[in-house]
Structures are given as C-alpha cells and as structure tokens.
C-alpha cells in the first residue's frame, strides 16, 4: 500500500490542496466548488483572489463536464478526468486533465495558442467578438471559457497533450492565478 504514501508525498511536494478524479457532473462541480471555497475562506485569502480562483475553477470544471471526450474501451468511464488545485506561496494553480480524441487536438491547440498570443486588450477584444457572435452550443458552452480563464489569470495558459493510446490524448491544462498582484 505504499502508493498511498507515494500519493500523499506527491500531493505535498506539488502543494496540492484538492484533487478530484472521477465522473464530472454539475453536481460534483458544485461539491468541488464548495470544498475549495471553504478551503480558501478558512485560509483567509483576499476576496479578489478568491473570486478569480473560483471563476477559473468554474470554467475549468464546466469545460470537463461539457467537453471531455468519452473513452469507450470499457476501462475508463465517460467524463473520466482529473481536477487539481495547487497552492504555492505566490499563486494558485488550477489544473485539469481529460481525454480528448486525437482528431480534436489540433483545433484545441490552435485556439489555446491564439489566446496565448494575445495581450490584455487583445483578450478583451476577442471576448467581445465571441460573445457578440456566438450562440450557445448543444453542449451548453459559449466558447468563452479559455478566454475568460486567460483574462482572470493574467498569465499564459499552460497545456500539454500526452498520448494515451492510438485514439486519445490526455489534455492537461494549468491556469495560474497570482496571489501577490493586488
């Protein structure tokens, strides 16, 4: 059972304050948010930072609920994904990982690269352009989640797509919210 200790040590060394793996739904999203909120409240975090962290968490979690691609090999259930929050001395890190079909990777990567190429004003313009022209998708998204996360974070979105198997990659996203920017 050494893996328990290993997992514990990993969480300590990565400064993780919350990890959730499993089936992501609106209900589990609400539970995760309320747990994370209690944690932020009890640590006495500044309210403007708390709001930004909450904001990024909601978008990250709802992205997984709406977009995580289903794995059909029987071993991994639909929406099997992971959500983590790290708390370092100078920032919070909101991280997600979820399966994505290989054919969807390049489109997502292009969208993230575009967002990362923009500065504050560029992101604001992109947000306004999308909100004016978008319609809510079948999945219930407005196509604004990553733009909003980048705006609230004020930093570049970090992402990777390690290969899972012949059909899927695992989309890893890390969004940093600085703690000392106010």
């Amino acid at each position: 059972m050494n893996f328990i200790y290993d997992l514990h040590r990993t969480m300590m060394s990565q400064k993780l304050i919350l990890v959730f793996q499993g089936d992501f739904t609106q209900e589990s999203t609400k539970s995760i948010l309320s747990m994370a909120e209690r944690n932020l409240d009890s640590s006495g975090e500044e309210s403007s930072i708390k709001r930004k962290v909450f904001n990024v968490m909601v978008e990250a979690l709802q992205n997984i609920v709406k977009h995580s691609d289903e794995l059909v090999d029987g071993q991994i259930r639909s929406h099997a994904a992971i959500f983590l929050i790290g708390k370092e001395s100078n920032r919070y890190c909101i991280m997600t990982g979820n399966p994505i079909r290989k054919e969807n990777v390049s489109k997502l990567k292009d969208a993230l690269d575009r967002i990362n190429s923009l500065d504050k004003d560029g992101l604001k313009d992109l947000y306004k352009e999308i909100i004016k022209n978008t319609t809510i998708s079948d999945k219930g998204g407005a196509g604004l989640g990553f733009v909003d996360m980048a705006r609230k974070s004020g930093e570049k979105l970090e992402f990777e797509f390690p290969e899972m198997n012949t059909e899927y990659c695992f989309f890893c996203l890390k969004v940093n919210v600085p703690r000392d920017n106010e």
Binding site: S48, G140, G141, G145
Partner: protein
C-alpha cells in the same frame, strides 16, 4: 402581468420581475448547467413586458458571479431590454470587485442602454 419570482440557489441567481411594483432584478450567482434553459422564462417574460412596458424601467443586475455561458445569456437579456422605452440598467458590483465592474462596462459597450454603476 404575472410576477416572475425565482429563488436563488448555489448555482442560479435570484430573479424578480414584477411590473406592478416596478421591481426588475437579477442577483447572486449564475452558473447553471444549462444557461439557455434557465434564462428562457426570463427572456419570454421580457418579451411580454416590452409590449406593454411601464413609462420607465430600472433593471437591476447585482451579480456576485456568473460563468461564461451565463454571460452570453445576460447579453441576450440586455438585448431584449434594448428596445424598451426609458430603460436604464443599474449594474451593482462589490466595491473591490474590479472584474464585475469591468464586465458591466463591457456589456454597456455592447448594447444601446444607459448603465449606472453602483457599488455594494
């Protein structure tokens, strides 16, 4: 005209739309699972109201948080209010919540309605 009164929950805002008493308010948190479905009755109510609106209307947004899917629907609500005579938006934000203030400013740039900004 019927009053639309929705109690707020942890993921949906409190909404009161009351023509007779002149109360028009959306407040709290908005991150519903299906934002289009949640805001449908609001948009329908506004459509009926616009046919026989009060001489002037002050519509209050006092949101603590909304997700991006809700932001699209909030824009839809504002667009539906655009053609109503003597319409004014009162956009409340917590005094240290710059993001909510900025969100209100962005909405005000997207529709042709006067906005008044207030802190709480």
């Amino acid at each position: 005209m019927e009053i639309l009164n929705l109690e707020g929950t942890e993921d949906t805002p409190k909404i009161i739309l009351d023509k007779k008493n002149g109360i028009f308010e959306i407040s709290g948190r908005s991150l519903p699972e299906d934002s289009a479905e949640f805001y449908r009755p609001v948009l329908e109510w506004i459509e009926k109201y616009s046919a026989d609106a009060n001489p002037s209307t002050e519509f209050v947004f006092k949101l603590e948080y909304f997700n991006t899917a809700s932001s699209k629907l909030i824009l839809d609500v504002l667009s539906a209010l655009e053609d109503i005579k003597s319409m004014k938006i009162l956009w409340y934000f917590h005094e240290d919540d710059e993001d909510m203030e900025e969100a209100g400013q962005e909405f005000s740039e997207l529709v042709e309605i006067p906005f008044e900004f207030k802190t709480y």
